[in-house]
């Protein structure tokens, strides 16, 4: 590994050879983290805000964050969804204090300034003073103090926001292939949230986002499927990476019928010590009729759309300081699920999340890396599996999608 030239006060310079070497200090430097907030999360990117389904009626709002910045997404009387910074224009108080709510306007608890659902300042308590005494000075103009707005775009029921006018429109940003991956899972369906939880990750946000793009680790770190000898049949699949590099999806197909066959024979091998007592967590149907049993899709910088058999989830990755992140799991069902499908999704839910048989390791491995880099970060990791480029590939023994991440990262960070 080549030692990197690093300036603690000025963030981290780029790796010596493009996108297949990653300076460790990128995960540990506080100044780098501060810059990422400006250049990536507030930069020309799109961040997941909420599901359109969470804002059924005008006046409904959801409070979330883009990077570390508190924002609100709200449905205006005209039915449009707006997003704006969740910080009062007066003294900076947090406006919305709960995760979701509804109302005709948003009123600050501190001094009662009120805003409409597009973030426009509409009322200032005592603006004219009391009995003509006090109040705001004559030159004060409410319309100079609206809340900072974000651009909003929607795709297949997912709502995204961007701080930066330079960001291309959402579908262009995603690219046709990844946009197609989103539509495959959600387009024309009516998602319902069937569960929600947050997994706190003891590591820099990038370590998790890389992990999701990392097809290399799947069968090695997550041994559940192998140990219990589940779907050992060869799985055709591949990785599709968007032009910008930051968005991607990987997928694999499964012969559902063969698996059922296999399952029957399993019964006969009672002797086998590593068998599942109750295989119902695997009972799955080819919901999309294309035999794709796994599709993991990422949208730079912080969203994951997951289909693992019939377990559908949106994961939202939120940076929380240089060495900490939060991962929100939003488990989805659909309006037309019958009771059998509902039960199926719940049982398959054991595969994923903070306690998931094939996902829990991702919750700790990032922390192991973070720890190993403490005061020992002046070298670089290597990401050369499958070459040095970031193109789509039909095989999974590659780190191509990770290189894709660094391609977009470096373009935005200007390093």
């Amino acid at each position: 590994m080549s030692v990197q030239d690093i300036d603690v006060d000025c963030g981290v310079s780029g790796p010596s050879n493009g996108i297949s070497e990653v300076p460790f200090r990128l995960y540990t430097d506080p100044e780098q983290y501060r810059r990422e907030q400006e250049r990536i999360f507030k930069g020309p990117t799109w961040s997941y805000l909420c599901l359109a389904a969470e804002l059924p009626h005008p006046g409904d709002w959801v409070a979330t964050t883009v990077g570390e910045v508190a924002v609100v997404a709200a449905r205006a009387p005209d039915g449009a969804i707006n997003a704006f910074v969740n910080r009062c224009a007066h003294r900076g108080n947090l406006l919305c204090l709960e995760r979701k709510g509804s109302g005709r306007e948003i009123t600050c608890i501190y001094h009662g300034w009120s805003y409409d659902l597009s973030g426009r300042l509409t009322g200032v308590a005592f603006e004219k003073g009391v009995k003509r005494a006090g109040g705001m000075p004559p030159e004060f103009r409410k319309d100079e103090h609206h809340l900072q707005q974000l651009r909003v775009a929607e795709l297949s029921g997912l709502v995204f926001g961007s701080f930066d006018p330079r960001a291309p429109d959402l579908e262009t940003y995603l690219g046709p292939v990844v946009a197609g991956g989103v539509k495959r899972v959600l387009e024309g369906r009516s998602p319902r949230v069937i569960g929600r939880s947050v997994q706190v990750l003891p590591n820099n946000w990038k370590l998790y986002f890389e992990n999701v793009k990392d097809t290399y680790h799947a069968s090695i770190l997550h041994t559940f499927l192998n140990i219990f000898r589940i779907n050992r049949m060869s799985q055709p699949g591949g990785i599709n990476i968007a032009e910008n590099g930051g968005n991607h999806f990987s997928f694999a197909k499964l012969d559902y019928a063969a698996e059922d066959e296999d399952y029957k024979h399993e019964q006969l091998r009672a002797s086998n010590e590593h068998h599942l007592e109750d295989r119902s967590i695997l009972d799955s149907v080819d919901e999309y009729g294309d035999r794709i049993s796994v599709q993991i899709l990422t949208i730079f910088p912080g969203m994951v759309l997951q289909q693992i058999r019939n377990a559908i989830a949106v994961r939202v990755l939120r940076p929380r300081g240089v060495g900490k992140s939060e991962l929100e799991w939003i488990h989805l069902g659909f309006a037309d699920d019958d009771p059998a499908m509902e039960e199926r999704r719940l049982r398959q839910g054991n595969l994923i999340g903070a306690a998931g048989y094939i996902s829990m390791e991702d919750g700790c491995v990032g922390g192991f890396v973070q720890r190993a880099l403490q005061y020992n970060d002046d070298e670089a990791g290597i990401v050369m599996m499958g070459g040095h480029e970031a193109e789509s590939q039909t095989f999974r023994a590659t780190e191509s999608a990770i290189r894709g991440f660094w391609k977009q990262y470096r373009a935005l960070m200007g390093t």
Binding site: S197, V200, F228, E277, G349, E361
Partner: protein, 157 residues
């Protein structure tokens, strides 16, 4: 069985359950449940919102056994233990040999290097078969107060 006996039996069951987990005698854990049981771990927020998808959902004792097999054989994580400290169980009702009980608890997590943190707090909502000894859980709903889970949840609560 008289009230007093149920009360004491449930208190013993709840205490023994915690010790079993905290002692890492996880292979014995499924035996605290009847064959046709339900064990769920979810958050107060999801529970109150009627969202059925939690973090762990077992609908049979077999699924509990599989949890432990996977923990022992398949899953990779840093060694750690819990310390359960529970308040006194409250018996809400006893009908047809089934006691409904609730217990407030907290679980500290102690990593192998000794790092200790308050990992979880919540309440157990239990349905317990009390017509015969040993008492066993028909349903144990673990409602965590927080929707946040630090790092991962592999040892049952």
């Amino acid at each position: 069985m008289d009230d007093q006996a149920v009360r004491l039996g449930v208190a013993d069951l709840v205490a023994a359950y915690g010790d079993c987990i905290d002692d890492d005698r996880l292979e014995e854990w499924p035996d605290f449940f009847v064959e046709d049981c339900r064990y769920l771990v979810t958050s107060r927020e999801s529970h109150e919102a009627g969202l059925r998808h939690g973090v762990i959902y077992a609908a049979s004792r077999g699924m509990l056994v599989d949890r432990i097999t996977s923990l022992r054989r398949a899953n990779i994580f840093e060694k750690h233990r819990y310390r359960h400290v529970a308040g006194a169980p409250r018996i809400l009702s006893v009908e047809d040999g089934v006691a409904a009980a609730r217990t407030s608890f907290l679980a500290a997590r102690i990593m192998h290097d000794g790092e200790t943190s308050l990992f979880a707090t919540g309440r157990y909502l239990d349905r317990i078969a009390v017509s015969a000894r040993p008492f066993r859980f028909i349903e144990r709903l673990v409602v965590l107060d927080s929707q946040k889970i630090d790092t991962l949840l592999v040892i049952p609560l």
